[in-house]
Symmetry: C2
């Protein structure tokens, strides 16, 4: 006998939780499609050579390789440490780059795609860290050039997603790498390694506090002037509180150098278009401390936080990049993308008790009082299913009370009772377990009635 | 520069095909949920020890193992051929067994689950064979016992799936292993290895023809009596042509031995309930040649074929099994399940030109005539999205003709034109590319009008 268990670091859900998870996936996908993004799925396994364009490094340590017994034995016998041919994707960005480069001549640009699949990382074992997790990504990829206007569309789509996910107040925070670069240059911190190191220190502000960061930056390692550090610390604390305030804060940066001016102009256009796309002003803000991936992003950068749960950190991040697929094609493919790490987010929301698992995907239970009535029960179930209701039938008669208890525990809202009386009268008795209500309805009206009830509670929510 | 490409044996689709594939997945899932099945997802990686309960054999040769660099190097250095700790699932049945056994005390039985995920097999390279493919499974698992009535629910659900997938006439073919066993015993072919070998020969009927099979079975290897073989060949050619005919063919089998009688009684109940569930009689039939996995199934067995494309073989198969998870738990867990191999089916339908990729998931393209009008265009897009329409906006003005051509090529049905005239009048001009029709509509009516148009064409299909 083998103990049934999953490997460490994966999230497996019981059906009730899976239903809640699936609803989130559906909501995300619906909104991605509303904004005109096209679906893409790529294989979990990529050729190692293609996935790891540069070998070595942290990424390679975390990658899972896939190998069939045959090829593994061959490698073991040869004793050479050549990497297996296949590896599991560790994000959706490298597969996107490969996909766009491979299918370049079959795609229309700007290419707008969404992808919602699982990725794999050999993370250190730790609570809330997953080795298999969903990423839900949208990207717009241009050929040669891509208007900064798309940088506004992504946060508008993300707003629609989180508004509908209904997980509380949230803010999409915006910054711009050009603005950052220009500002730091004006403070004597030139682009390159130094700027990267300073940004890394800045990133510790929340955890270590301003004093620690100030001491480090003025200390022997960095040796920045005290007034430059003071200006930097003031700068990275800038947050806007409204649309007008955001514009004012951009104005207040003055003319500065070219990089700063470009960044300011881009951010201004982006927030104007975000507003034009109907995003309420409390849902977006400037945050000059956001830098994101230092080598990768070149313009707009995003982070999204839950106002009441800042400790969760950014639940959705991304930005603008200059060249998606330089390893695979000579074409210049600039893009902008944003990603929701849904597995981790779901886990965090569960921990914060923000996930409701009250309602099953099953909407109706058709009970059964005697074997002789089974064909009638099945016919009613058939009518309900045709009427668009997710319906389960009790297949073997048991005590009615037991059937009700099952429906209640399973989160099934409507219980339909069909006894001989009901069948003779051409009606069904319905118990609404949510509203604790009971009513009789003609069979011909049954599906429509329940659908209307469900529709109404959806609207009332 | 690295050549961007996928590994051999995987199916990766361009967006238009992916949309068609996604529609099929959605249809399957919707119908699975209509019948009250609950969603389950399991990790792609399982512990090798759990996945391969018995080591060696064909399965192990086909399994992909997953390993991070660290653990791989350790294994390579030790020089021992121990299997890696993790392996990728090769079907959804073993993960179901593990899941049910692991979560036994948190599940309600009969447990009805659906699972639609990819599985991995190191298949020999061959056209139409995939190393990564979707399985879409439904199973009902009982504790200690499970009524044969569920054996009727699965084909009813599969009927609903294929009817809505709209891929032509199909027949769900039914047989019963008890009936088979009883019949073969009555012909002197006892249960066990001989029966398995005979069934394997029978399976070659379609390919090799009756003469070949007759010669083999009466030949030196088997040595069956000529009249027994004649009876067997007659028996396995039985197909029913209607519900009444199916009942008559079961009656015609007579009393026989106990196993035959049980099989007949089960099949009779199953087809009566399939009818009660509203499945038209042309969509199910008896087929006494179906045996399926010889070690695994114990009662009802299913195969589904497309009437006009018999060469595709069974597109959906399954059956009743006695004990799902004997490797993991002492509890007896009988069940019944059925599976659609969607990747292969999609590929086959594509080859047979039965997949329509005419319509995009994007329903509306909002064109743009000048930069100054962009905010208005974004506002209209926002209204359309709120109205439930998947809407793409052209972000940078270009020739209108070019924007129309893009919509046409992309399969987007409605093109919305908003010039200064339209904005002044508070209207939008809509071109319906499918009906080649153009009309003007007040902006306040735009979303509703397009939604009604889409709804109507859906109903008319």
């Amino acid at each position: 006998m083998i103990k049934p268990r999953t490997p460490p670091g994966v999230m497996e859900l019981l059906p009730r939780d899976q239903i809640a998870f699936q609803r989130m996936l559906d909501t995300i996908r619906r909104n991605f499609e509303r904004f005109g993004f096209l679906p893409v799925e790529t294989p979990v396994m990529e050729l190692t050579e293609v996935l790891l364009t540069k070998s070595g490094g942290e990424t390679e340590r975390q990658v899972y390789f896939a190998e069939s017994t045959g090829s593994r034995e061959k490698n073991l016998q040869s004793g050479e440490a050549t990497l297996p041919e296949l590896a599991l994707r560790f994000d959706l960005t490298v597969p996107l780059a490969r996909y766009v480069a491979e299918h370049e001549h079959d795609l229309a640009f700007p290419f707008r795609r969404y992808q919602m699949q699982r990725v794999y990382r050999g993370e250190r074992q730790q609570r809330g860290r997953f080795r298999e997790f969903y990423q839900c990504d949208i990207d717009v990829v241009g050929k040669d050039a891509l208007s900064v206007r798309y940088d506004a569309e992504l946060p508008a789509c993300i707003y629609a997603v989180f508004a509908e996910l209904d997980i509380g107040a949230f803010t999409i925070q915006l910054n711009n790498r050009k603005l950052l670069r220009g500002f730091f240059e004006s403070q004597g911190v030139a682009e390159g390694e130094l700027q990267a190191l300073v940004l890394r220190e800045i990133d510790k502000l929340d955890k270590r506090g301003a004093d620690y960061v100030r001491d480090t930056l003025t200390g022997p390692g960095f040796g920045l002037a005290a007034d430059a550090v003071a200006t930097i610390l003031q700068f990275v604390e800038v947050r806007s509180t409204s649309h007008q305030d955001a514009l004012a804060k951009l104005d207040a940066l003055g003319d500065g150098n070219q990089s700063l001016r470009e960044g300011v102009a881009e951010l201004r256009e982006v927030i104007e278009l975000i507003r034009a796309l109907g995003v309420p002003e409390q849902n977006y803000a400037l945050n000059f401390s956001i830098a994101r991936g230092l080598d990768y992003y070149t313009g707009t950068v995003y982070e999204t936080t839950l106002n009441d749960y800042p400790s969760l950190g950014s639940i959705c991040s991304g930005g603008r990049y200059e060249d998606l697929a330089s390893h695979y094609t000579k074409s210049k493919l600039p893009g902008v993308g944003i990603s929701i790490g849904l597995t981790r987010l779901f886990w965090q929301l569960q921990e914060a008790k923000l996930i409701s698992t009250a309602e099953s995907s099953v909407q109706v239970l058709v009970t059964q009082m005697s074997d002789a009535l089974l064909p009638q029960c099945l016919a009613v179930a058939n009518e309900l299913r045709h009427g668009g209701l997710n319906t389960e039938v009790v297949m073997e008669a048991s005590k009615l009370k037991q059937q009700f208890r099952y429906a209640d525990r399973a989160g099934i809202r409507f219980v339909v009772v069909l006894g001989e009386d009901e069948i003779a009268k051409g009606v069904a008795t319905v118990k609404d377990l949510r509203r604790e209500d009971q009513f009789e309805v003609p069979r011909s009206e049954l599906a429509r009635t329940l659908r209307v009830e469900l529709e109404q509670s959806r609207v009332m929510q």
